[in-house]
Symmetry: C2
Subunit: 104 residues, 2 copies
């Protein structure tokens, strides 16, 4: 809780090839994720915003009609309700991802 | 909107010595900020979570009873309602900061 040093933070494998650690408060969830190369999500959307930044490697993000291979120091912003997906190619990716928690 | 490359993103000076660009959706506001050295905020709190990561330089973050000089690849998470403040010392800081938007 509070402060993380991502250079030494231990992550947990929560799906095969996807390692993460999350911190969650009243209305935000922050996640550090390391995703192996050649992994892919499935298109989905949710009624809350999501955003993040690539810290290492590369990840292809599809947001609505836009698709971009993001590298280090590139960010994404996914407005609430917008269909999106992610895919890693030859490189793994380390990202910091933040979502608004769904209102109860 | 969508994707930013922070290596070439143009920021605007919104207070003396503080440069930023923000993107805001239904329930998140993401901001890239560059803060000159030797700047300091004022202690405050708000009823929504805030989090972020240091991308360049250093910034001292005070969150509740905790205080830490954060460097590159270090993150902070400020739970809703927790008093906090920030301060730059000899170095400037570039951060990515995300807040939940206050519910109406």
């Amino acid at each position: 809780m509070g402060f993380w040093n991502l250079k030494e933070l231990k992550l947990n494998e929560f799906r095969p090839g996807i390692f993460s650690k999350i911190e969650s408060g009243a209305n935000l969830t922050m996640a550090v994720m390391v995703i192996d190369s050649n992994k892919e999500g499935s298109p989905h959307n949710h009624p809350f915003d999501q955003c993040g930044i690539v810290l290492e490697g590369e990840i292809e993000m599809t947001v609505g009609e836009g698709k971009k291979l993001l590298a280090i120091m590139e960010t994404y912003f996914i407005p609430a309700g917008t269909p999106h997906n992610w895919k890693t190619l030859a490189l793994s990716a380390k990202i910091l991802d933040v979502v608004a928690k769904q209102s109860v």
